[in-house]
Symmetry: none
Subunit: 204 residues, 4 copies
């Protein structure tokens, strides 16, 4: 099933090579968007960050919004790929859940590539048409979560229905951008465990 889904995702085009000019532009933009916000980041800022002229940007992207679009699209695609792989590594629901949480956390905090948090924080910066496009990808992504959480609920490992629990978890994870530091007291892995502990049904 998963291969089937991944095949469908091909329509969203190949991921940008992180070492290509386009890829570096995308990464630099993601960093700036996250730091200053999309609206406050000028194309000149972006150009300066990669050491080119602002006009050159438009060789790689039709316009500023396309950069954000590419970031969002690539981000989901990358995380989705990782998740499918991780889910295949175990049959235990709670272990699967643990994987999802950790991978989303890593995506949010940019272990490998920046950008996941932009999906929420800069959502409104997209035009309607582009929102629809990303929405399709987000659906694949959220369906994955829903599946696992539904299973967990059926097995009585958690107290709340998938729909609500996912909402809570997504919020809890995203918000970590604003208070959790990767270089702080605890690691992302530990943070993931704390969240698991928070909503896991426990016996006395």
């Amino acid at each position: 099933m998963m291969n089937q889904v991944l095949a469908q995702l091909d329509e969203f085009g190949p991921l940008a090579d992180l070492n290509s000019a386009k890829g570096r532009l995308q990464q630099a933009s993601a960093r700036l968007f996250k730091e200053k916000g999309y609206a406050k980041t000028t194309v000149r800022d972006i150009a300066a960050e990669v050491g080119i002229q602002s006009g050159s940007i438009f060789h790689h992207f039709k316009n500023k919004e396309e950069i954000l679009l590419a970031i969002m699209s690539d981000t989901i695609l990358r995380v989705l790929t990782d998740m499918y792989a991780a889910l295949a590594s175990t049959d235990d629901v709670m272990e699967k859940l643990q994987h999802l949480i950790l991978l989303e956390l890593k995506a949010i905090h940019g272990e490998q590539f920046v950008g996941f948090s932009l999906l929420v924080s800069e959502w409104r910066a997209l035009s309607d048409g582009n929102q629809q496009q990303i929405l399709k990808l987000r659906e694949y992504y959220e369906n994955l979560w829903r599946e696992i959480l539904t299973l967990a609920h059926e097995q009585e490992k958690v107290n709340v229905e998938a729909l609500y629990l996912r909402g809570f978890i997504r919020g809890a994870l995203i918000e970590t951008t604003n208070w959790f530091s990767v270089t702080g007291d605890i690691s992302l892995e530990q943070l993931a465990l704390k969240l698991m502990a928070t909503f896991t049904r426990r016996e006395k």
Copy 2:
């Protein structure tokens, strides 16, 4: 103690009268900021919303950012006041917590006044100086939460330390803007209960 705190809060000035020109301007702005984002909302948009000319806005606010500042400040102040009142109504920690969650939810979904979610979503729109100012208020606010959550943890009603739990709850609540509708299947009260259920330690 609480009265003492409320007294200190006086320095942040009086709340805008919701029926005054200034108050209506503030409310209209909050609505637009939430809908389109601060950056994409123009001063003309705001003026049009209340039926005046854009130039007239500057008789009430020094500049656009001051509007956002006032919204944020007033919002926290109002919620704080409500919370102090609610906390005084019971001695049970979990009931207190329940109150906090419900009041924050109401603030987020604008039962009485829009704006709480802007505190997170438009945080970066504030200049450094203004961030500091709001930060003071947020500290009062977050301290209140920390106090209650610490108590709950000490009484072993929850599994996770106040610092982390508050982070998770804040995120979970804020994110409801993006998926929960007040006119949907369940009420804010029920939603609050769902969240409580999520992280409450349960006995066999």
Copy 3:
């Protein structure tokens, strides 16, 4: 009948007051467009011509193209009004024709206001939607010509059908921009007579 037509033309809005800021902007733009061409005229050029900042232009016109649109629209409207008046002053077909030619010539050479020649030379600068709008006006205008020329042909004063003759006359008149100078040897009136002589059927 004419009053009826003029009434319909009201939908195209009032003419710009030539002394208002908007009117002066329009006139200055028309002059520049004629001199350097629409594409080569920058909004800064226009602003400089009337002594304001380029940004201020957009208080009066939504964008650069709207200026051209206003010029074209106003121009036709003004000429049409003059033509209806002139046609009413005589019953002789050839005299009517003489009036039309002279009025169009005057419009082309900007006796009172610049702009008529732009209708042809800058036609392609308009977007499709705006072309349609002006087309409606041009139809009123061309119908007037067709009427008179058809009459002239029926009375055997001219050799060629209205459709073709109008095409020839329009071209002949417009092209005078490129070779005829108002300050030269002969006057516009004399030029008009030369054109009349060209295609008028003569007796031995």
Copy 4:
């Protein structure tokens, strides 16, 4: 005499071979310039039209304006050559005139190569220096017309002096771009006759 003139024209360089890369570039450009206007036609548009990259254009032409220059120059040269040939075929003034009109019409409507109408519509797109250069060619061209028209006037076949009549005819012919379609009711030959009829002196 004519051979003498044609010899002088050699200084303007050889005509582009219509099948060479350069020739096809020139033809494609002419088509686009006519369709969208010089200013609105980008170098990329042109490149796309012939299936090369925009950078490659500059191997054939120094810059965009040189393309327009070449088009104009070649166009006049081609028409001139045809005209000299046609004029030699008859001694009758009115027949000669008929030839000129038809050939100019054909040039305008691009029977063999696009471009004549650009001489008028895009005249201002040329820099001063280039205008001077084309002006030299146009002089040869206009002198030819003047010669014939002067003869016709002397022979009392037309009513108006060459200078004015040529202005009218040029305008009438150019303007046909805007209303006459080669695939419509009448042919170019018939159109030429209509124009002849328009200004030819007739006896009762």
